[in-house]
């Protein structure tokens, strides 16, 4: 019996694996169509694992793939125990996981604990029979005034977090869309049920989930998506004890990276990292540039938000809720230097980077599609029909692939970029390989340097004997910077991509010049000639 779900069978045991890993987020529907029906599926994804293995990513993150009316991209789950028929069968899923494990890649899956789809049988039972077994599984109220201080997330579509249900004659609570009623975690039965599914919300409950997970499996990871300030998110790690989630996304750092690049000023990044509290030894931040949602601007000030809209969402169609629904390449006006700089900074920060499918080739978006579909268009594999995504008729595709002259599949695709040694894809591949050669990026300490030149974002990562100096030029123009490296006097900086040795560090400030939007990573080596 080969148990594909047992990581011990495929992987070195390593409790720190997720700190050193590079994650890759996949929109299953948009990745590859294995059965020619116009929609991506597990068989198709399995066909592309050789590519992902080559790319060097360690862990695949799948968006929800459960049965769902798909009114929120699958985040509205109607059954936690099976697979949406568009994506294949449970066997197809098993086959995919097996194949991923064989290639040394782990899989994490989105599991929405907060709510279900309104179509879920639990909710339907809760509506129709308030006294029945599911009567108390959701949050019901006779009026819509409770918790009025809670924010509304989908501002564009939802006037309130309460919606009237004429059948039951009560209001129900929903943090997100009105078709996604929140589960009632005060009900112990709900806790039991969701623990059976996998995991959940309140901290007491998370501690239980973590304890159960650790007891049952080794090397499993719980990753929290809590779009809040770092000081608040830290609670999801279980404060000092580290007994809740292993990882949590760091939301606020991301818009500040975009701000820093546009303003040519390192300050927004330095400040947000300074105000990020320490996290438990066994925990890690998840970092990303873009994902399947809008670039969220909830965790910025009003002033900063205006600035971001001004700079990055010139067309009102680009805005969604409190954010900007665009992909990385188009946010950066397809600037190769800017895209590389952003990845360089992302990969150098303390945390594990999460890439979003298609960004490694610089895919664009389609702001004329509704909701967040504009950033969920088909992966562009080749310059052939449908971008090599599907052999179905064009009309059958779940969304049209990009076909514009700049970002369309004829200009931007995996096949062509694999063959071009200087393509973005090949560069990202090298970046991933480099990061994985140096555990310091995942495990090391972080210390910002504060050079006089505010256009330079420079910091030092240290893990055991491995010292890495990262210097990024945020400006559109070439810059010189003097860095105080006197602590490392006698060390020799070795540039990490080309392994060129730079002059030895002495007592005086260390002078570096950087190309526009250029960056250097150096390993500081003890000078052996002494």
């Amino acid at each position: 019996m080969t148990d594909a779900a047992t990581p011990g069978h495929w992987f070195e045991r390593d409790p720190d694996w997720f700190k050193k890993a590079v994650f890759y987020e996949i929109h299953l529907r948009g990745f590859f169509d294995g059965n020619d029906d116009g929609s991506g599926d597990f068989r198709g994804l399995a066909d592309k694992l050789d590519y992902l293995q080559w790319l060097g990513v360690d862990c695949l993150w799948l968006l929800p793939y459960y049965p769902s009316p798909l009114r929120d991209g699958g985040y509205d789950i109607a059954d936690f125990y099976s697979i949406h028929p568009d994506y294949g069968s449970v066997e197809d899923f098993q086959y995919f996981v097996d194949q991923a494990h064989q290639r040394g890649m782990r899989v994490i899956a989105d599991l929405v604990m907060n709510h279900t789809s309104a179509d879920h049988p639990w909710f339907q039972a809760s509506r129709s029979d308030p006294q029945g077994p599911y009567g108390d599984w959701y949050v019901w109220g006779d009026d819509d005034t409770r918790w009025s201080e809670a924010r509304i997330i989908f501002l564009d579509t939802e006037p309130s977090n309460w919606t009237w249900d004429p059948l039951r004659g009560q209001y129900y609570w929903h943090s997100f869309f009105s078709h996604q009623p929140d589960l009632n975690y005060d009900n112990p039965e709900v806790q039991e049920q969701m623990l059976g599914v996998n995991l959940a919300e309140t901290h007491e409950f998370l501690k239980r989930v973590r304890a159960e997970t650790d007891a049952r499996y080794s090397d499993r990871v719980l990753l929290a998506e809590a779009n809040q300030w770092p000081a608040d998110v830290v609670a999801y790690f279980g404060e000092g004890d580290g007994d809740e989630c292993h990882m949590a996304f760091h939301f606020p750092v991301m818009p500040r990276m975009f701000m820093a690049v546009r303003r040519e000023d390192a300050l927004p990044m330095i400040e947000i990292l300074e105000s990020t509290p320490p996290i438990p030894e066994n925990a890690q931040w998840g970092l990303f540039l873009r994902n399947h949602d809008e670039l969220t601007l909830e965790m910025v000030t009003d002033e900063e938000r205006d600035y971001m809209y001004e700079e990055y969402a010139k067309d009102p169609r680009m805005k969604l809720n409190l954010g900007i629904r665009r992909r990385l390449a188009s946010l950066l006006d397809n600037g190769r230097d800017e895209i590389q700089l952003m990845h360089g900074m992302l990969f150098s920060l303390p945390g594990s980077p999460v890439l979003y499918y298609g960004d490694e080739i610089g895919m664009g978006d389609n702001i004329f599609l509704g909701d967040r579909d504009g950033v969920r268009t088909p992966m562009q594999w080749t310059g052939d029909r449908n971008g090599g995504f599907s052999r179905a008729d064009f009309q059958q595709l779940y969304l049209p692939p990009l076909m514009d002259p700049v970002y369309g599949f004829q200009a931007v695709n995996v096949e062509a970029q694999l063959r071009q040694p200087n393509s973005l894809l090949r560069w990202i591949h090298r970046l991933i390989a480099l990061r994985k050669e140096h555990p310091v990026f995942g495990l090391g300490t972080y210390e910002a340097l504060r050079p006089d030149n505010p256009r330079i974002f420079a910091h030092v990562r240290t893990y055991e004997d491995d010292i890495v100096l990262c210097v990024h030029n945020l400006a559109r123009s070439a810059q010189a910077v003097e860095l105080d490296l006197s602590r490392w006097e006698g060390h020799v900086p070795e540039e990490m991509f080309g392994r060129t040795r730079f002059p030895r560090i002495g007592e005086l400030p260390y002078l570096l010049t950087l190309a526009p939007r250029g960056f250097f990573w150096f390993q500081l080596r003890k000078d052996e000639s002494e």
Partner: protein
Amino acid sequence: MTDPRPLIDFITSQRWFGSKTRDVANAQIVDCATLQDGLELQLVEIRFDTGTHETYQLVTSGDDLDALDDAKQVRELLHLMRSNAKVPCADGVVQFAAAEGFPGSGHELRSARVMQAEQSNTSIVFDNELILKVFRRVEAGVNPELELLRFLTARNFENIAQLSGWYEYAGRQMDATLGILQRFVADGEDGWERALATMDDGAERFLDSLRRLGAVTGRMHAALGSDATDPAFCPEETSAESLGLLTATVDEEIESIFLDLPDGNPDLDPIRGRGEEVRERLRLLTNLGGAGRVIRHHGDFHLGQTLWAGDDWVILDFEGEPARSLPERRRKRSPLRDVAGMLRSFAYAASASSLLRGTEPPDAWEARARAEFLDGYRETVDPHLVPTGASMDKLLTVFELEKAVYELRYELNHRPDWVKIPVAGMVRMLEDEVPV
């Protein structure tokens, strides 16, 4: 709980123990079958400090942890095969099986000797008639050797040592192949040895026989790609980006090896500073219409895996590269990888002759060997499996280049005297015309 130390000491000191550089934390018998009174088959899990494990097969007799060198004991394995015995274990079952036409039923086998050359397995020859290969490192899944021998036998491919039997384990831990029994090719002469032995006398006859080897290889691939109904074997189209993946992989290997090229070895001079030229050549070579199909294949194909049995070739050892994981060895790839492996092996034979034996190979020996082998191969291979015309030559050269880069890295680290072999290969690829 018994002291695991003796078990650890025994296993870690064996030649077939593959992880000598790693720290072993524990050893534990995870399942065990009594084959007969006093003879046990044990599956031992070796656990490393890092938490991973490997499983090894022992056949023990009392305190003797290796009963395979005892002719009387080891014959019992054959008896069990002959009777298709099913031996229960604590957590599973060991199934013995005889292949069709299981030999040796009429007479008792007398002698049994352990082959000395084996690295990762233990092979025992009975009366120069049969050879039993006992897999020491046990991995979940069917071993490709058993899988391919059965498949090729069923398709009447005769250039193999006939499969006579096997035994396997099915249990809670895993399903795995434990050993296989084949006919021993007593009068066979190792292809590598034969190449070297005939360099100063009889080279012509040997070269002629390579056409035959090419033809046998082509028929082997045709047979392996002949069943569209068996999912483990049916030929598959390559994906749209597979050629791109190959290009990118080889290109980066070239880039990195040229970055690492050490100073001071004059044997490297012919390629020094020519990294960009090699990469440029790769771009020209990968500019082709298609990559053909991918099929199950030999996986570790070179002269040392062949025997000349008087009038024809026998292909041996379908295990694949032992350093790779079992799922990786079972993956379908282009059959031209086997061909490239054999062509590189000719280059090694020519140089080994002068390096090891002091015999200069006859003029143009390697070129002749290549031409003979490829002519034979083209005659018999199923044209649907490989790209057509010049594309086949180009793809083949890409695989050869990939191997030469790998060889260069290996030789730089292990045998600097030998770097001239991959260097000469790379120079030849640079100087040859790109097929059009």
